[in-house]
Amino acid sequence: MTVDRSVKQSNYPPGDLAIWIFILAELAVFAIFFAAYAFTRLQHVELFNEYQLTLDREAALINTLALITSSYFVVRSVSAIKLDDRERCVHWLLAALTMGLLFLIVKTFEYVQHYSEGVNLSSNIFYMFYLSLTFFHFMHVIMGMVILAAIAVMAARGRYSRQEHTGVESGASYWHMVDLVWLILFPLVYVMR
């Protein structure tokens, strides 16, 4: 049994294979979005450069640090459950959720600010991309937090152990995907010009 698991672990990614199919599909959609942004910018370089300056780069940095930190906390939660330390696993997951919540709060403030300035999807092509890309990602953060919360509850109830923690690894992989997407989105939309 142990031998089978070690072979499986070295040939397949951590977590359930189904979540990886889902992750790859999500990544493909974001890749198309990023390429569309970059090539659309080609036709409107000045407009993209001008309106990029209206974005709150400091808020984006806070969000970047929040997501990276939450991803790190999730890594620690997986390490904890592999040591059969359920309590610490739950604590790390709650810390990761707190960072996720910080992301949502900061991003919501950004959206409120834009809304109060009259910015919407039809303002111009830059804002159309900015709002749709970041909101699509925002929805993924919410979904990731729901998954992490469910895992935290199940971990607290003793559902996971050193022998069986596929659920924790699956949720962790999804959350890292959310982080991964933001790591490209942040420089592309907020910095590169």
Binding site: A38, L42, Y72, L180, L183
Partner: protein, 93 residues
Amino acid sequence: MKQLSDYLGIRPCTLVYLLLIFFSLTTFLVGQMGFSGLGMSLLVLFLALIKGQLVGSYFMGLGSVRGLWRWPVFIWLFIPGILIGMAFTLSYQ
């Protein structure tokens, strides 16, 4: 990465975390200091791709996977990375 983290007396994931923070702050400073141009854009893109690969290998655990499953994140970073780099290069011509 593991040997370096051993030398520093920290976990590999902690070292990766610190590198991610450092690269993110560098990216932010490039924007804040008003640096622009093709070279800076490609540098920032390159840093983002490095960060993505670190997340894929060390946080997602793909660095210790054999075979096909080792590569999806690398390929995902490579293809949009090339396309974005190409689009930005064309915008300067």
